[in-house]
Protein backbone atom coordinates (compact mmCIF):
# COMPACT_ATOMS: atom_id res chain seq x y z
CA UNK A 1 0.00 0.00 0.00
CA UNK A 2 1.27 3.46 -0.90
CA UNK A 3 1.76 5.78 2.06
CA UNK A 4 3.14 8.82 0.28
CA UNK A 5 2.46 9.75 -3.30
CA UNK A 6 3.87 12.78 -5.09
CA UNK A 7 2.67 13.70 -8.57
CA UNK A 8 4.06 16.27 -10.99
CA UNK A 9 5.52 18.38 -8.23
CA UNK A 10 7.24 21.66 -9.01
CA UNK A 11 8.62 23.57 -6.04
CA UNK A 12 11.34 25.91 -4.85
CA UNK A 13 12.19 28.81 -2.60
CA UNK A 14 9.97 31.81 -3.21
CA UNK A 15 10.49 32.45 -6.93
CA UNK A 16 13.56 30.24 -7.37
CA UNK A 17 12.51 26.85 -8.76
CA UNK A 18 14.45 23.81 -7.51
CA UNK A 19 12.32 20.74 -8.13
CA UNK A 20 10.81 19.95 -11.54
CA UNK A 21 8.11 17.48 -12.30
CA UNK A 22 8.80 15.12 -9.41
CA UNK A 23 6.84 11.86 -9.23
CA UNK A 24 7.55 9.72 -6.21
CA UNK A 25 5.80 6.84 -4.47
CA UNK A 26 6.72 5.47 -1.07
CA UNK A 27 5.15 2.15 -0.02
CA UNK A 28 4.10 1.70 3.60
CA UNK A 29 6.75 0.30 5.99
CA UNK A 30 9.52 0.63 3.40
CA UNK A 31 12.82 2.48 3.45
CA UNK A 32 13.07 4.81 0.48
CA UNK A 33 16.44 6.42 -0.21
CA UNK A 34 16.76 9.69 -2.08
CA UNK A 35 20.27 10.16 -3.41
CA UNK A 36 22.01 12.48 -5.79
CA UNK A 37 24.91 14.88 -6.17
CA UNK A 38 25.21 18.09 -4.16
CA UNK A 39 22.60 20.69 -5.08
CA UNK A 40 20.32 18.17 -6.76
CA UNK A 41 17.36 19.14 -4.57
CA UNK A 42 17.28 16.19 -2.13
CA UNK A 43 16.88 18.30 0.99
CA UNK A 44 14.47 20.61 -0.81
CA UNK A 45 12.33 17.57 -1.63
CA UNK A 46 11.99 16.68 2.06
CA UNK A 47 11.33 20.30 2.98
CA UNK A 48 8.68 20.48 0.29
CA UNK A 49 6.94 17.33 1.51
CA UNK A 50 6.89 18.93 4.95
CA UNK A 51 5.51 22.26 3.75
CA UNK A 52 8.62 24.41 4.19
CA UNK A 53 9.04 25.59 0.59
CA UNK A 54 6.87 27.14 -2.09
CA UNK A 55 4.88 24.65 -4.16
CA UNK A 56 4.07 25.94 -7.65
CA UNK A 57 2.00 22.96 -8.76
CA UNK A 58 1.56 19.24 -8.28
CA UNK A 59 0.12 17.23 -5.43
CA UNK A 60 1.39 15.42 -2.36
CA UNK A 61 -0.85 12.75 -0.88
CA UNK A 62 -0.28 11.06 2.44
CA UNK A 63 -2.37 8.02 3.27
CA UNK A 64 -4.66 9.02 0.41
CA UNK A 65 -5.21 12.53 1.78
CA UNK A 66 -4.10 15.60 -0.13
CA UNK A 67 -1.58 17.38 2.08
CA UNK A 68 -0.01 19.62 -0.57
CA UNK A 69 -0.82 22.89 1.14
CA UNK A 70 -1.09 21.83 4.77
CA UNK A 71 1.08 23.62 7.33
CA UNK A 72 3.92 21.69 9.00
CA UNK A 73 2.11 21.33 12.35
CA UNK A 74 -0.90 19.86 10.54
CA UNK A 75 1.38 17.30 8.90
CA UNK A 76 2.81 16.34 12.29
CA UNK A 77 -0.76 15.73 13.47
CA UNK A 78 -1.25 13.31 10.57
CA UNK A 79 1.80 11.28 11.60
CA UNK A 80 4.70 12.76 9.67
CA UNK A 81 8.08 13.56 11.17
CA UNK A 82 11.02 15.35 9.60
CA UNK A 83 14.57 15.39 10.87
CA UNK A 84 16.56 18.24 9.29
CA UNK A 85 20.22 17.83 8.43
CA UNK A 86 21.42 20.62 10.71
CA UNK A 87 19.69 22.53 13.45
CA UNK A 88 17.57 19.55 14.42
CA UNK A 89 17.70 20.29 18.16
CA UNK A 90 17.32 23.43 20.25
CA UNK A 91 20.81 23.95 21.77
CA UNK A 92 19.70 26.38 24.49
CA UNK A 93 16.92 24.16 25.79
CA UNK A 94 17.45 21.16 28.04
CA UNK A 95 17.09 17.57 26.80
CA UNK A 96 13.69 17.34 28.47
CA UNK A 97 12.50 20.63 26.99
CA UNK A 98 13.59 19.43 23.54
CA UNK A 99 11.59 16.25 24.04
CA UNK A 100 8.58 18.25 25.25
CA UNK A 101 8.78 20.33 22.09
CA UNK A 102 8.93 17.19 20.00
CA UNK A 103 5.73 15.97 21.64
CA UNK A 104 4.07 19.36 21.54
CA UNK A 105 0.78 18.05 20.21
CA UNK A 106 0.45 15.31 22.83
CA UNK A 107 -1.29 15.63 26.21
CA UNK A 108 1.06 16.49 29.09
CA UNK A 109 0.70 13.08 30.76
CA UNK A 110 1.54 11.23 27.57
CA UNK A 111 4.62 13.41 27.02
CA UNK A 112 5.98 12.46 30.46
CA UNK A 113 5.49 8.77 29.73
CA UNK A 114 6.94 8.88 26.25
CA UNK A 115 10.04 10.95 27.11
CA UNK A 116 11.51 8.23 29.32
CA UNK A 117 10.40 5.32 27.16
CA UNK A 118 11.81 6.77 23.96
CA UNK A 119 15.10 7.96 25.45
CA UNK A 120 15.69 4.41 26.73
CA UNK A 121 15.91 3.31 23.11
CA UNK A 122 18.92 5.54 22.47
CA UNK A 123 22.40 5.62 23.97
CA UNK A 124 21.73 8.96 25.66
CA UNK A 125 19.37 7.66 28.33
CA UNK A 126 21.99 8.09 31.07
CA UNK A 127 22.43 11.82 30.46
CA UNK A 128 20.50 13.98 32.96
CA UNK A 129 17.33 15.37 31.39
CA UNK A 130 17.99 18.86 32.69
CA UNK A 131 21.29 19.14 30.81
CA UNK A 132 21.41 21.79 28.11
CA UNK A 133 21.74 20.36 24.63
CA UNK A 134 24.60 22.68 23.70
CA UNK A 135 26.80 20.65 26.06
CA UNK A 136 26.15 17.41 24.14
CA UNK A 137 28.47 15.99 21.48
CA UNK A 138 27.48 15.85 17.80
CA UNK A 139 26.59 12.17 18.03
CA UNK A 140 24.53 12.66 21.18
CA UNK A 141 22.67 15.50 19.52
CA UNK A 142 21.89 13.33 16.51
CA UNK A 143 20.56 10.58 18.79
CA UNK A 144 18.47 13.14 20.65
CA UNK A 145 17.11 14.44 17.34
CA UNK A 146 16.10 10.92 16.35
CA UNK A 147 14.49 10.38 19.74
CA UNK A 148 12.65 13.67 19.32
CA UNK A 149 11.24 12.66 15.97
CA UNK A 150 9.72 9.58 17.59
CA UNK A 151 7.85 11.58 20.22
CA UNK A 152 4.90 12.32 17.97
CA UNK A 153 4.47 8.61 17.18
CA UNK A 154 4.97 9.07 13.43
CA UNK A 155 3.89 6.79 10.61
CA UNK A 156 6.60 8.17 8.34
CA UNK A 157 9.98 9.66 9.22
CA UNK A 158 12.03 11.73 6.83
CA UNK A 159 15.76 11.90 7.57
CA UNK A 160 17.93 14.52 5.91
CA UNK A 161 21.52 13.26 5.93
CA UNK A 162 21.42 11.80 9.45
CA UNK A 163 25.04 10.63 9.25
CA UNK A 164 26.47 14.01 8.22
CA UNK A 165 29.42 15.14 10.39
CA UNK A 166 29.42 11.89 12.37
CA UNK A 167 32.31 9.46 12.78
CA UNK A 168 31.94 6.17 10.83
CA UNK A 169 31.15 4.35 14.08
CA UNK A 170 28.40 6.78 15.04
CA UNK A 171 27.09 6.86 11.48
CA UNK A 172 26.81 3.06 11.60
CA UNK A 173 24.84 3.33 14.86
CA UNK A 174 22.50 5.84 13.26
CA UNK A 175 21.83 3.55 10.27
CA UNK A 176 21.22 0.63 12.62
CA UNK A 177 18.72 2.73 14.52
CA UNK A 178 16.96 3.69 11.30
CA UNK A 179 16.65 0.00 10.40
CA UNK A 180 15.24 -0.74 13.85
CA UNK A 181 12.69 2.04 13.48
CA UNK A 182 11.65 0.65 10.12
CA UNK A 183 11.28 -2.83 11.60
CA UNK A 184 8.93 -1.38 14.21
CA UNK A 185 6.63 -0.35 11.34
CA UNK A 186 7.70 3.20 10.55
CA UNK A 187 8.10 4.15 6.90
CA UNK A 188 11.40 5.91 6.23
CA UNK A 189 12.49 8.41 3.61
CA UNK A 190 16.24 8.78 3.78
CA UNK A 191 18.19 11.53 2.08
CA UNK A 192 21.84 10.62 2.34
CA UNK A 193 25.27 11.53 0.96
CA UNK A 194 26.65 8.24 2.22
CA UNK A 195 25.15 6.52 -0.80
CA UNK A 196 26.42 2.99 -0.32
CA UNK A 197 25.07 2.69 3.20
CA UNK A 198 21.80 4.30 2.22
CA UNK A 199 21.36 1.86 -0.67
CA UNK A 200 22.26 -1.08 1.54
CA UNK A 201 19.49 -0.43 4.03
CA UNK A 202 16.83 0.83 1.61
CA UNK A 203 14.50 -1.09 -0.66
CA UNK A 204 13.70 1.58 -3.20
CA UNK A 205 15.70 4.54 -4.38
CA UNK A 206 15.20 7.78 -6.26
CA UNK A 207 18.18 9.44 -7.89
CA UNK A 208 17.75 13.20 -8.19
CA UNK A 209 19.86 15.22 -10.59
CA UNK A 210 19.31 18.97 -11.03
CA UNK A 211 15.90 18.80 -9.38
CA UNK A 212 14.58 15.98 -11.58
CA UNK A 213 14.18 12.25 -10.97
CA UNK A 214 16.88 10.61 -13.09
CA UNK A 215 16.35 7.07 -11.83
CA UNK A 216 13.80 5.22 -9.75
CA UNK A 217 13.69 1.59 -8.81
CA UNK A 218 15.09 -0.95 -6.42
CA UNK A 219 18.22 0.06 -4.55
CA UNK A 220 20.01 -3.01 -5.86
CA UNK A 221 19.39 -1.89 -9.43
CA UNK A 222 21.11 1.43 -8.87
CA UNK A 223 24.04 -0.25 -7.16
CA UNK A 224 24.42 -2.50 -10.18
CA UNK A 225 23.74 0.15 -12.81
CA UNK A 226 26.73 0.40 -15.16
CA UNK A 227 26.73 4.20 -15.49
CA UNK A 228 24.53 6.11 -13.09
CA UNK A 229 26.27 5.17 -9.87
CA UNK A 230 29.64 6.13 -11.24
CA UNK A 231 28.42 9.24 -13.00
CA UNK A 232 26.44 10.87 -10.23
CA UNK A 233 27.24 9.14 -6.98
CA UNK A 234 30.89 8.20 -7.17
CA UNK A 235 30.24 4.50 -6.71
CA UNK A 236 31.35 1.67 -8.93
CA UNK A 237 28.75 -0.89 -9.92
CA UNK A 238 28.73 -4.09 -7.89
CA UNK A 239 29.37 -7.08 -10.08
Amino acid sequence: MTLLNISNLNAGYSRIPVLSDINLTVPEKSICAVVGPNGSGKSTLLKTIFGLTTIYNGTIKFNGKDITHLKPYEKVKLGMAYLPQTGNVFPNLTIKENMIMAGYLLPKKEIEERVENILKMFPIANIPLDKKVLTLSGGERQMLAMAMSLMSNPKIMMFDEPSANLSPKLAHQVFQKIKELNKSGITIILVEQNVKQALEISEIVYLLVSGRVRFQGESKQLLEHPELGKLYLGISSVS
Binding site: K71, V89, F90, L93, I100, M101, L105, T135, S152
Partner: protein, 302 residues
Protein backbone atom coordinates in the same frame (compact mmCIF):
# COMPACT_ATOMS: atom_id res chain seq x y z
CA UNK B 1 9.43 59.08 50.72
CA UNK B 2 11.33 61.65 48.65
CA UNK B 3 9.31 62.39 45.50
CA UNK B 4 12.43 61.89 43.36
CA UNK B 5 12.87 58.37 44.75
CA UNK B 6 9.19 57.62 44.22
CA UNK B 7 9.41 58.94 40.66
CA UNK B 8 12.44 56.76 39.90
CA UNK B 9 10.64 53.69 41.32
CA UNK B 10 7.65 54.31 39.06
CA UNK B 11 9.79 55.06 35.99
CA UNK B 12 12.00 52.00 36.57
CA UNK B 13 9.04 49.69 36.93
CA UNK B 14 7.11 51.00 33.94
CA UNK B 15 10.10 51.12 31.59
CA UNK B 16 11.11 47.61 32.73
CA UNK B 17 7.66 46.27 31.83
CA UNK B 18 7.64 47.99 28.46
CA UNK B 19 11.17 46.84 27.63
CA UNK B 20 10.13 43.23 28.31
CA UNK B 21 7.54 43.45 25.54
CA UNK B 22 9.83 45.26 23.11
CA UNK B 23 12.53 42.61 23.49
CA UNK B 24 10.21 39.64 23.19
CA UNK B 25 8.66 41.12 20.07
CA UNK B 26 12.12 41.83 18.66
CA UNK B 27 13.50 38.34 19.23
CA UNK B 28 10.43 36.60 17.88
CA UNK B 29 10.10 38.46 14.57
CA UNK B 30 13.66 39.88 14.41
CA UNK B 31 12.09 43.26 13.74
CA UNK B 32 12.08 46.22 16.16
CA UNK B 33 8.46 47.13 16.78
CA UNK B 34 8.52 50.92 16.57
CA UNK B 35 4.85 51.06 17.55
CA UNK B 36 5.37 49.30 20.89
CA UNK B 37 5.51 52.35 23.13
CA UNK B 38 2.64 54.03 21.27
CA UNK B 39 0.55 50.89 21.82
CA UNK B 40 1.55 50.90 25.51
CA UNK B 41 0.52 54.51 26.02
CA UNK B 42 -2.67 54.23 23.99
CA UNK B 43 -4.17 52.51 26.99
CA UNK B 44 -3.26 55.45 29.26
CA UNK B 45 -6.48 57.16 28.16
CA UNK B 46 -8.60 54.42 29.74
CA UNK B 47 -7.92 55.37 33.39
CA UNK B 48 -8.51 59.02 32.43
CA UNK B 49 -11.86 58.14 30.84
CA UNK B 50 -12.91 56.16 33.92
CA UNK B 51 -11.94 59.06 36.16
CA UNK B 52 -13.88 61.54 34.03
CA UNK B 53 -16.95 59.34 34.40
CA UNK B 54 -16.49 59.19 38.16
CA UNK B 55 -15.14 55.64 38.31
CA UNK B 56 -11.94 54.69 40.15
CA UNK B 57 -9.25 54.90 37.42
CA UNK B 58 -7.53 51.76 38.73
CA UNK B 59 -10.59 49.79 37.62
CA UNK B 60 -9.62 50.62 34.04
CA UNK B 61 -6.45 48.50 34.25
CA UNK B 62 -8.01 45.27 32.90
CA UNK B 63 -9.40 47.22 29.96
CA UNK B 64 -5.99 48.84 29.43
CA UNK B 65 -4.45 45.37 29.34
CA UNK B 66 -7.00 44.33 26.74
CA UNK B 67 -6.37 47.38 24.54
CA UNK B 68 -2.61 46.81 24.60
CA UNK B 69 -3.11 43.10 23.91
CA UNK B 70 -5.46 43.52 20.99
CA UNK B 71 -3.42 46.24 19.30
CA UNK B 72 -0.24 44.23 19.73
CA UNK B 73 -1.89 41.04 18.44
CA UNK B 74 -3.32 42.89 15.46
CA UNK B 75 0.08 44.37 14.63
CA UNK B 76 1.67 40.91 14.87
CA UNK B 77 -0.88 39.49 12.43
CA UNK B 78 -0.23 42.38 10.08
CA UNK B 79 3.56 41.98 10.22
CA UNK B 80 3.29 38.19 9.86
CA UNK B 81 1.10 38.71 6.81
CA UNK B 82 3.67 41.11 5.32
CA UNK B 83 6.40 38.56 5.97
CA UNK B 84 4.53 35.83 4.12
CA UNK B 85 4.20 38.28 1.21
CA UNK B 86 7.97 38.67 1.16
CA UNK B 87 8.36 41.99 3.00
CA UNK B 88 11.81 42.21 4.58
CA UNK B 89 12.73 43.35 8.12
CA UNK B 90 13.12 47.01 7.12
CA UNK B 91 9.71 47.03 5.42
CA UNK B 92 8.15 45.42 8.48
CA UNK B 93 9.86 47.92 10.79
CA UNK B 94 8.56 50.84 8.74
CA UNK B 95 5.10 49.28 8.75
CA UNK B 96 5.21 49.11 12.54
CA UNK B 97 6.14 52.80 12.55
CA UNK B 98 3.15 53.56 10.31
CA UNK B 99 0.91 51.48 12.58
CA UNK B 100 2.16 53.52 15.56
CA UNK B 101 1.40 56.77 13.75
CA UNK B 102 -2.15 55.60 13.05
CA UNK B 103 -2.63 54.87 16.76
CA UNK B 104 -1.10 58.25 17.54
CA UNK B 105 -3.68 59.84 15.26
CA UNK B 106 -6.53 57.97 16.94
CA UNK B 107 -5.24 59.02 20.37
CA UNK B 108 -5.24 62.64 19.23
CA UNK B 109 -8.81 62.31 18.01
CA UNK B 110 -9.87 60.77 21.33
CA UNK B 111 -7.98 63.45 23.30
CA UNK B 112 -9.71 66.15 21.25
CA UNK B 113 -13.07 64.46 21.83
CA UNK B 114 -12.52 64.51 25.59
CA UNK B 115 -11.27 68.12 25.43
CA UNK B 116 -14.00 69.60 23.26
CA UNK B 117 -17.01 67.47 24.09
CA UNK B 118 -16.43 66.68 27.76
CA UNK B 119 -14.43 69.88 28.37
CA UNK B 120 -11.74 67.80 30.07
CA UNK B 121 -8.03 68.57 30.25
CA UNK B 122 -7.11 65.61 28.05
CA UNK B 123 -4.36 66.61 25.63
CA UNK B 124 -1.82 66.56 28.46
CA UNK B 125 -2.96 65.04 31.71
CA UNK B 126 -1.90 63.35 34.90
CA UNK B 127 -3.93 61.25 37.30
CA UNK B 128 -1.78 62.04 40.36
CA UNK B 129 -4.79 63.65 42.04
CA UNK B 130 -6.91 60.57 41.38
CA UNK B 131 -4.48 58.17 43.03
CA UNK B 132 -5.24 56.40 46.28
CA UNK B 133 -3.03 56.90 49.34
CA UNK B 134 -1.39 53.84 50.95
CA UNK B 135 0.74 54.21 54.10
CA UNK B 136 0.91 57.92 53.44
CA UNK B 137 2.26 57.48 49.92
CA UNK B 138 0.55 57.49 46.50
CA UNK B 139 -0.67 54.01 45.61
CA UNK B 140 1.30 53.95 42.36
CA UNK B 141 4.59 53.88 44.31
CA UNK B 142 3.58 50.42 45.55
CA UNK B 143 1.56 49.27 42.57
CA UNK B 144 4.18 49.81 39.85
CA UNK B 145 6.98 47.73 41.44
CA UNK B 146 4.38 45.11 42.45
CA UNK B 147 3.26 44.91 38.83
CA UNK B 148 6.88 44.62 37.66
CA UNK B 149 7.69 41.87 40.16
CA UNK B 150 4.49 39.88 39.71
CA UNK B 151 4.38 40.12 35.91
CA UNK B 152 8.07 39.27 35.61
CA UNK B 153 7.51 36.23 37.85
CA UNK B 154 4.45 35.28 35.82
CA UNK B 155 6.39 35.64 32.61
CA UNK B 156 9.33 33.64 33.93
CA UNK B 157 7.04 30.81 35.04
CA UNK B 158 5.24 30.94 31.71
CA UNK B 159 8.50 30.63 29.78
CA UNK B 160 10.06 27.91 31.92
CA UNK B 161 7.21 25.82 33.31
CA UNK B 162 4.64 25.62 30.54
CA UNK B 163 4.65 23.86 27.21
CA UNK B 164 3.58 27.11 25.58
CA UNK B 165 6.48 29.04 27.15
CA UNK B 166 9.02 26.41 26.09
CA UNK B 167 7.55 26.64 22.59
CA UNK B 168 8.13 30.41 22.56
CA UNK B 169 11.77 29.90 23.58
CA UNK B 170 12.08 27.20 20.93
CA UNK B 171 10.61 29.45 18.23
CA UNK B 172 13.04 32.20 19.18
CA UNK B 173 15.94 29.76 18.67
CA UNK B 174 14.73 28.06 15.51
CA UNK B 175 11.42 29.00 13.93
CA UNK B 176 11.49 26.28 11.24
CA UNK B 177 12.42 23.48 13.60
CA UNK B 178 9.64 24.44 16.01
CA UNK B 179 7.20 24.34 13.09
CA UNK B 180 8.43 20.93 11.93
CA UNK B 181 7.91 19.54 15.42
CA UNK B 182 4.25 20.44 15.36
CA UNK B 183 4.17 23.88 16.99
CA UNK B 184 1.62 26.19 15.44
CA UNK B 185 4.21 28.96 15.36
CA UNK B 186 1.87 31.63 14.09
CA UNK B 187 -0.64 31.06 16.87
CA UNK B 188 2.04 30.79 19.56
CA UNK B 189 3.66 34.07 18.52
CA UNK B 190 0.26 35.72 18.26
CA UNK B 191 -0.48 34.74 21.87
CA UNK B 192 2.99 35.91 22.99
CA UNK B 193 2.46 39.30 21.35
CA UNK B 194 -1.02 39.47 22.90
CA UNK B 195 0.41 38.89 26.40
CA UNK B 196 3.35 41.31 26.16
CA UNK B 197 1.12 43.89 24.48
CA UNK B 198 -1.23 43.59 27.45
CA UNK B 199 1.64 43.97 29.91
CA UNK B 200 2.75 47.07 27.98
CA UNK B 201 -0.82 48.35 28.08
CA UNK B 202 -0.86 47.97 31.85
CA UNK B 203 2.49 49.75 32.13
CA UNK B 204 1.25 52.63 29.99
CA UNK B 205 -1.94 52.90 32.02
CA UNK B 206 -0.15 53.34 35.36
CA UNK B 207 2.31 55.95 34.02
CA UNK B 208 -0.13 58.93 34.31
CA UNK B 209 -0.63 58.21 38.02
CA UNK B 210 2.75 59.89 38.52
CA UNK B 211 3.90 61.48 35.25
CA UNK B 212 2.01 63.48 32.65
CA UNK B 213 0.83 61.84 29.45
CA UNK B 214 -0.03 63.22 26.04
CA UNK B 215 -0.55 61.44 22.71
CA UNK B 216 3.15 61.88 21.85
CA UNK B 217 4.40 60.27 25.09
CA UNK B 218 4.61 56.85 23.43
CA UNK B 219 6.85 57.77 20.50
CA UNK B 220 8.93 59.96 22.83
CA UNK B 221 9.53 57.04 25.19
CA UNK B 222 10.86 54.82 22.42
CA UNK B 223 14.42 55.99 23.10
CA UNK B 224 14.07 54.99 26.78
CA UNK B 225 12.84 51.51 25.87
CA UNK B 226 15.47 51.05 23.20
CA UNK B 227 18.17 52.17 25.65
CA UNK B 228 16.80 49.76 28.28
CA UNK B 229 17.00 46.86 25.85
CA UNK B 230 20.52 47.79 24.74
CA UNK B 231 21.70 48.14 28.35
CA UNK B 232 20.19 44.81 29.38
CA UNK B 233 21.13 42.93 26.23
CA UNK B 234 18.91 43.09 23.19
CA UNK B 235 18.36 39.34 23.01
CA UNK B 236 17.41 38.72 26.64
CA UNK B 237 13.93 39.31 28.02
CA UNK B 238 15.28 39.34 31.59
CA UNK B 239 18.12 41.63 30.54
CA UNK B 240 15.69 44.13 29.10
CA UNK B 241 13.73 44.21 32.37
CA UNK B 242 16.99 44.85 34.23
CA UNK B 243 17.90 47.48 31.63
CA UNK B 244 14.51 49.13 32.11
CA UNK B 245 15.04 49.34 35.85
CA UNK B 246 18.51 50.86 35.38
CA UNK B 247 17.56 53.30 32.63
CA UNK B 248 14.26 54.38 34.24
CA UNK B 249 15.82 54.93 37.64
CA UNK B 250 19.01 56.58 36.45
CA UNK B 251 17.21 58.86 34.03
CA UNK B 252 15.17 60.41 36.83
CA UNK B 253 17.98 60.52 39.40
CA UNK B 254 20.62 61.82 36.96
CA UNK B 255 18.31 64.47 35.58
CA UNK B 256 17.47 65.61 39.08
CA UNK B 257 21.13 65.63 40.09
CA UNK B 258 22.17 67.64 37.06
CA UNK B 259 19.18 70.01 37.28
CA UNK B 260 19.89 71.08 40.87
CA UNK B 261 23.50 71.82 39.93
CA UNK B 262 23.11 73.26 36.42
CA UNK B 263 19.58 74.59 36.32
CA UNK B 264 16.07 73.44 35.45
CA UNK B 265 16.62 74.25 31.75
CA UNK B 266 18.55 71.00 31.47
CA UNK B 267 15.33 68.98 31.84
CA UNK B 268 14.53 69.83 28.20
CA UNK B 269 17.39 67.50 27.28
CA UNK B 270 15.93 64.56 29.19
CA UNK B 271 15.61 62.26 26.12
CA UNK B 272 19.39 62.38 25.67
CA UNK B 273 20.03 60.74 29.06
CA UNK B 274 18.90 57.18 28.15
CA UNK B 275 20.92 57.38 24.95
CA UNK B 276 24.03 58.39 26.93
CA UNK B 277 23.42 55.56 29.43
CA UNK B 278 23.11 53.10 26.55
CA UNK B 279 26.27 54.42 24.87
CA UNK B 280 28.34 54.16 28.06
CA UNK B 281 27.00 50.65 28.75
CA UNK B 282 27.91 49.54 25.25
CA UNK B 283 31.45 50.83 25.74
CA UNK B 284 31.83 48.70 28.87
CA UNK B 285 29.58 45.77 27.93
CA UNK B 286 29.34 45.57 24.11
CA UNK B 287 26.65 42.92 24.32
CA UNK B 288 24.71 44.53 27.15
CA UNK B 289 24.70 43.29 30.73
CA UNK B 290 23.05 39.90 30.13
CA UNK B 291 25.06 39.36 26.94
CA UNK B 292 28.27 39.89 28.91
CA UNK B 293 27.11 37.52 31.66
CA UNK B 294 26.33 34.92 28.99
CA UNK B 295 29.82 35.40 27.48
CA UNK B 296 31.40 34.83 30.89
CA UNK B 297 29.33 31.67 31.37
CA UNK B 298 30.39 30.46 27.94
CA UNK B 299 34.07 31.03 28.78
CA UNK B 300 33.69 29.06 32.03
CA UNK B 301 31.94 26.23 30.20
CA UNK B 302 34.85 25.98 27.77
Amino acid sequence: MEPIIAASIVASSVIGLMALGFTLQFITLKVPNLAHTTICFSSAYMPLSFWLFGINPYLALPLSFLIGSLLSWFLYKFLAFLRTRGTGPVGQMMSSLAFGLIIYGIMNIYADYLSYVLKAWARTFTLANADIILFGEPGIVFLSPTLLFSLTTFFHLLLTRTKFGIAIRAIVQDYSLAATLGVNTDRALGIAWFIVGGIGGLAGAVWPFWFSVDPWTGPRMLSDIFAACVVGGLFSVYGSILGGIIVGGMEILLLWGIAINVGVWITSYRPIIPVIIAAITLLIFPKGIMGSIEMLREKRRK
